[in-house]
């Protein structure tokens, strides 16, 4: 039974079509795995009943030869996608009782292709974080452990639950969201594939907002081809979202088997000299470069001059937008409404918000409020937007010379849970490689490419031009092939 959970989506679809097993069996296998690994705390809400009834319908569709593109595939959904009739918390106490009466477009899209929802995954509160340590519903444990320690490790964040679920075979794919790296970084930490398409490719309707100009739905899978398959169903124009791009959804599967011979791969060598990057990461980077050269790709040195300002730029813009997006959480129409808050209107606001939000969220709202305040808006917010344009221009400039850009996903491997990163700034440095592509709205993928000295997965990141998911996946798949000899299954799974 447990072999069923190890299948890729493509293989599973083929097997289901050929009636090697049923959708019900596939769903049950996953539910069993979820039960076995409950301690990972990957799920906030398990929807086993829904999954089983969906599986039954899927089986009917196969028997009528009316199967849809993703019929019967068990998936997990990050808990910031509103799912109709199912608790949606965004990892927060504030929404711990919120049951939406509507569905997000992206989760609707994959549901319409026949996926089966196993549950809503754990995440950093309101998607703010890169460790899943800030969830109201507890930490998520990384299925991976270092070879030289028995400490529990973080799965990364904010899509920590989604990543742990896919990495630990508790789902075949999981919807995540990526604002500053929240799909790519946990993919790197958990040894799986994580991809964020071009900003505007996936609708944000029904996605609980963190930073509107950066948020984008992403996918976590165990191989690149599965990611391509899922994205084909997730992406698409939605008239309900003003920032949704009205462009056709490309055929992405074919990209996964194309050779990278003759492609121009950009490497910002100067970023290799940044502080705080593990030696293992540098080695992986170098090894990847060499392997690609051997495949016939051309490696070109590029400079992303303003990349070093990405972190401060992001940490002005994202909190600013978040401080405004989270102003609606006041307990009046939905969400937490603590006892004793009905004294007066100001008490209601203050008690609800002080009580309902965790530390990291409060911190970011404070920063956001500060940088938008009258005295500072020019110095910080407008300045950050100008810097954002410079970073955006850097990429455009680079893409006149190269097809994709190759950098690591994270500066380190997954760190220990008890490694209390008390200093928020240290925590923010986890995002240093993922933020630039977020600011520029570019498609990017993280693919496991090496194991660290103490046997933890490390991910390589490929960044493509706007709307070029095709070549992004193409190079990602190549990296996957180049390192297919490495075992990216966590020990014991």
């Amino acid at each position: 039974m447990s072999e069923l959970t190890k299948l890729t989506i493509s293989k599973a679809l083929k097997a289901l079509k050929e009636k090697e097993f049923s959708c019900l069996e596939l769903a049950k296998a996953h539910i069993e795995q979820m039960e076995k690994y409950k301690k990972l705390n990957a799920y906030i809400t398990e929807t086993c009943d829904i999954a089983l009834s969906q599986a039954k319908i899927a089986d009917q569709n196969y028997s009528k030869n009316q199967e849809r593109k993703l019929e019967g595939i068990p998936v997990a959904v990050k808990d910031l996608f509103c799912t109709k009739g199912v608790l949606t918390t965004s990892g927060s106490k504030m929404l711990s009782n919120f049951v939406p009466t509507y569905e997000s477009t992206v989760s609707e899209n994959i549901k319409n292709q026949g996926t089966i929802m196993l549950g809503k995954t754990n995440m950093d509160e309101f998607a703010m974080g890169s460790s899943n340590l800030s969830s109201y519903f507890g930490h998520v444990i990384n299925p991976w452990k270092a070879s030289d320690s028995s400490e529990n490790l973080v799965p990364g964040g904010s899509s920590g639950g989604s990543s742990a679920a896919v990495s630990g075979f508790l789902a075949m794919a999981a919807l995540g969201s990526d604002t500053g790296g929240s799909v790519r970084q946990p993919a790197s930490y958990t040894g799986i594939v994580g991809m964020k398409p071009t900003y505007g490719r996936c609708s944000r309707w029904g996605m609980i907002a963190f930073a509107s100009s950066l948020d984008q739905a992403g996918i976590l899978t165990r191989n690149v081809e599965d990611a391509a398959l899922m994205l084909e169903s997730m992406m698409g124009f939605d008239a309900k979202d003003s920032t949704s791009l009205d462009v056709p959804v490309p055929n992405l599967m074919p990209a996964c088997s194309k050779s990278i011979k003759g492609m121009r791969i950009g490497v910002p060598y100067d970023l290799m000299k940044l502080d705080g990057i593990d030696g293992d990461i540098i080695k992986m980077w170098q090894d990847t470069i060499d392997a690609m050269k051997a495949e016939g790709a051309e490696i070109i040195d590029i400079t992303l001059e303003n990349a070093k300002y990405s972190l401060p730029t992001y940490y002005v813009i994202a909190p600013a937008e978040a401080s405004s997006n989270l102003a609606r959480y006041d307990g009046i129409r939905y969400g937490l409404r603590p006892e004793g808050s009905e004294i007066n209107i100001n008490e209601l606001y203050e008690l609800t918000r002080s009580n309902g939000f965790g530390d990291e969220v409060k911190r970011r709202i404070m920063i956001g409020t500060y940088v938008l305040s009258a005295s500072f808006i020019d110095a910080y917010y407008l300045k950050a937007q100008r810097m954002r344009r410079l970073i955006y221009n850097d990429f455009n400039q680079a893409f006149t010379k190269v097809d994709v850009i190759l950098i690591p996903t994270a500066p380190t491997s997954a760190f220990a849970m008890d490694d209390k990163q008390d200093d928020p700034v240290t925590m923010y440095l986890n995002d240093i490689f993922t933020i630039p592509a977020s600011l520029a709205g570019l498609p990017c993928i993280s693919v496991p490419a090496a194991l660290s000295t103490n046997m933890l997965p490390l991910g390589m990141q490929v960044i493509g031009q706007a709307l070029d998911e095709y070549n992004t996946l193409r190079v990602g798949a190549a990296i996957e092939r180049l390192f297919s000899h490495v075992n990216f299954i966590p020990r014991g799974f």
């Binding site: 009782n97 919120f98 049951v99 009466t101 509507y102 900003y199 505007g200 100009s213 008239a239 003003s242 920032t243 791009l245 300002y309 972190l311 401060p312 940490y315 002005v316 307990g331 009046i332 129409r333 939905y334 969400g335 409404r337 006892e339 808050s341 009905e342 004294i343 007066n344 209107i345 100001n346 209601l348 203050e350 918000r353 002080s354 409060k362 911190r363 709202i365 404070m366 920063i367 409020t369 500060y370 305040s373 110095a379 910080y380 300045k383 950050a384 937007q385 100008r386 810097m387 954002r388 344009r389 410079l390 955006y392 200093d423 928020p424 700034v425 923010y428 520029a440 709205g441 706007a466």
Partner: protein, 100 residues
């Protein structure tokens, strides 16, 4: 250097209720984070246009037709607290009396 007073002002704007300890805690953290951000103030990009969106397009507009209907049941499905029941009955959101 962000003063305790400024931290208090920001907290009030964001509708947070912090005690002395929390104010201190956030003050330290804000100072820390702002010093990371402050590098931005040293760069001159006055000649650069701010980038508000990576979407290279203009705001789409919709036709002036009524597409939504009465969804009062849905609207009040998630009200909670001691007045939730009353809110559902009268189909109004309830708050403590606001004095203008």
């Amino acid at each position: 250097m962000i003063t305790k007073d400024e931290v208090n002002k920001i907290a009030k704007l964001a509708k947070f209720n912090f005690d002395e300890k929390e104010i201190s805690h956030f003050q330290t953290q804000l100072v820390n984070i702002m010093s990371m951000i402050d590098v931005l103030t040293q760069i001159d990009c006055s000649k650069i246009e701010p980038l508000t969106s990576v979407c290279n397009m203009n705001q789409r507009m919709r036709e002036d037709v009524v597409t939504e209907s009465d969804i009062r049941q849905e609207l009040f499905a998630n009200t909670s607290g001691e007045n939730a029941k009353l809110a559902k009955e009268i189909n109004c959101f309830i708050v403590p009396k606001v004095v203008e």
